[in-house]
């Protein structure tokens, strides 16, 4: 589950614990931001619940004292972004897997600072379904010395688990989202479509499209540069524009953005360009949805069409659900319903990881040797 990095969002947590306890951790390590939750064994109270941009800033050489807070040489998350002009920014992850082991280890170390004190740390960590053995081994290597024991579980499994509200299963009218749904998770590096029909998805139930938020950023950057060749916006500025204005559907001509270019404020009229930047993503998702529906048992399709769920950072693009639903209708599908999980989508994988950590048996934890 991904989204573009913006703010570190501390969420109020419950009472503290004693250092003698084992800490269970649910960790969604995303390309752009990560969600971490923690509690003690046997407790449902969350002691940590935070979203932290997945970015590390290494202080540039020769900086004067006092420029960076406490003259730190390594900054993380929101702080790294805030002081980005004084830092060499490094993303530990690319396309959902570790791309830079050193910054990944540093970032994991920083994550531990957000956890309550405990005797032992056990983490369930979400990995992309397509993560191969090397990618998984990299995760284990990066968190050595941070967690004592880990279990790696594919993110779609954890999302399904996290999205399900077990306390409401007996409630009249509650539709169990894992009974018969199509989840579309649009992250930074890939868009993952996954059929969940009562069982954890198998490889055949999933499609991973290597086109998502990062590709939209690159497309938008290219479009803006074509219209304003001297604009030369940083990728962070492009991401800000996307997060505020990205849309799908009929062209909007009234999007005016103010940016500093060449030291002077400029207004950019980029409604058309923003619309263009999301077209490829829409087309690919539409094709992917059709393929997934075709895989489902025909008897299950009417109900499945009622439960198409958009999640991930890309789901926040305006009108995405409506436009996708209309495309499906126009293509002949009967009364499809596409909905968005909402802004708290970032928490579902970590929430599922917490559930898995609580349910894991002793023998299932893999010990990390430091």
């Amino acid at each position: 589950m991904e989204e573009n990095a913006t703010e570190t969002t501390p969420i109020p947590t419950m009472s503290s614990n004693t250092a003698a306890e084992t800490i269970l951790v649910g960790f969604d390590w995303g390309t752009n931001s990560s969600c971490i939750m923690a509690s003690t064994t046997g407790s449902n109270d969350l002691l940590t619940n935070e979203i932290i941009p997945s970015i590390v800033g290494y202080a540039k050489e020769g900086l004067l004292e006092g420029i960076l807070p406490s003259d730190k040489t390594v900054l993380f998350g929101k702080e790294a972004l805030k002081y980005r002009i004084y830092c060499q920014l490094q993303r530990p992850m690319r396309n959902g897997v570790i791309d830079d082991l050193k910054s990944a280890s540093d970032y994991a170390g920083h994550i531990k600072e957000h956890l309550p004190e405990g005797r032992e740390y056990r983490a369930v960590i979400g990995v992309p379904a397509r993560a191969d053995q090397i990618a998984r081994e990299n995760v284990r290597t990066a968190v050595k010395g941070v967690f004592d024991k880990v279990i790696l579980i594919p993110e779609p499994f954890l999302a399904a688990l996290g999205y399900r509200d077990e306390s409401r299963l007996k409630e009249d009218g509650y539709i169990d989202p894992v009974n018969n749904s199509l989840f579309i998770d649009i992250g930074a590096g890939s868009s993952d479509l996954c059929l969940v029909q009562g069982y954890y998805p198998q490889p055949d139930d999933q499609i991973s499209i290597p086109y998502a938020g990062d590709a939209v950023d690159a497309e938008l950057s290219k479009e803006i540069l074509q219209k304003y060749p001297d604009s030369d916006l940083s990728i962070h500025s492009v991401i800000e524009i996307k997060e505020e204005h990205a849309y799908m559907g009929p062209q909007k001509s009234d999007i005016i953005v103010k940016k500093i270019i060449g030291g002077k404020p400029r207004t950019l009229d980029i409604g058309y360009e923003i619309g263009q930047s999301t077209l490829t993503l829409l087309d690919l998702i539409f094709e992917g949805v059709k393929q997934e529906i075709a895989k489902a048992n025909p008897d299950s399709v009417p109900e499945l069409l009622q439960n198409i769920v958009l999640t991930g950072g890309g789901s926040q693009i305006k009108n995405f659900a409506e436009v996708l639903q209309k495309m499906l209708e126009d293509d002949g599908y009967e009364q499809p319903k596409v909905r968005i999980i909402g802004e708290n989508y970032k928490e579902f994988v970590a929430k599922g990881a917490m559930k898995a950590a609580r349910a894991a048996k002793e023998r299932q934890w893999q010990t990390l040797i430091d």
Binding site: V127, I151, V178, G198, Y200, Q364
Partner: protein, 209 residues
């Protein structure tokens, strides 16, 4: 870590086992030992040695054990599969420990030896001091370098990589696990991962296909 694999005569191994035991458990123990050796050979980069053990010796041992064993064919197949998975996992764990030892050697032990040698007047390179044999000099010179520039360490890590080639993704395999069964899902994921490891390092999978 495991000793260097010795070349053995397959006929000699099989006949020795048969003479001394004659019962299925002896064949089984021999089978486990040889499979482990094949895995270790493969892990250490002796691919031809591993293939030789796997293709020339193990099938015959499996056949003899199978004949001698009172278990039915399903039980035998399951026992073999479990053994392959368990042994492969042990070798993978050993790989991690090996890497750890190489790291420690490279980062802590060898630099200390290097310093001591220097203090005693030896020099791996350069003109001053007594000269060490070239291999020792190279080793010690590498040991002084940080891990990212240390060719010995990198080589060791590359070898360890042989046990975990990419490609196998994490899934529950052919098992359908209900969403409510979280523990069953973890078992299925881990079982599938171990099985995939076993398949990647074992040419014996053809016996089951």
């Amino acid at each position: 870590m495991a000793a260097q694999t010795q070349h053995r005569d397959p006929v000699e191994i099989i006949s020795k086992t048969a003479q001394t035991s004659g019962i299925s458990e002896d064949y089984w123990n021999e089978l486990v030992e040889l499979f482990r050796e094949a895995c270790l050979s493969y892990h250490e980069g002796h691919e031809s040695e591993a293939k030789k053990l796997a293709i020339d010796i193990l099938p015959e041992l499996i056949r003899r054990w199978s004949k001698a064993s009172p278990e039915n064919s399903d039980e035998k197949r399951l026992r073999l599969q479990n053994m392959f998975i368990e042994e492969s996992r042990r070798i993978a764990d050993a790989g991690i420990i090996q890497r750890m030892i190489v790291n420690r050697l490279s980062e802590r032990v060898l630099p200390s030896i290097m310093n001591e040698l220097k203090q005693r007047g030896f020099a791996p390179t350069g003109n001053s001091g007594k000269k060490l044999p070239k291999n020792t000099a190279d080793l010690l010179e590498q040991a002084e370098k940080p891990p990212e520039e240390n060719k010995l360490l990198q080589k060791a890590m590359e070898k360890n990589r042989a046990i975990t080639p990419g490609g196998a993704t994490l899934s529950t395999g052919k098992r359908k696990v209900p969403v409510g069964d979280v523990s069953g899902m973890i078992d299925a994921l881990q079982g599938s991962e171990y099985k995939s490891m076993a398949q990647q390092i074992s040419p014996l999978r053809s016996l089951f296909e």
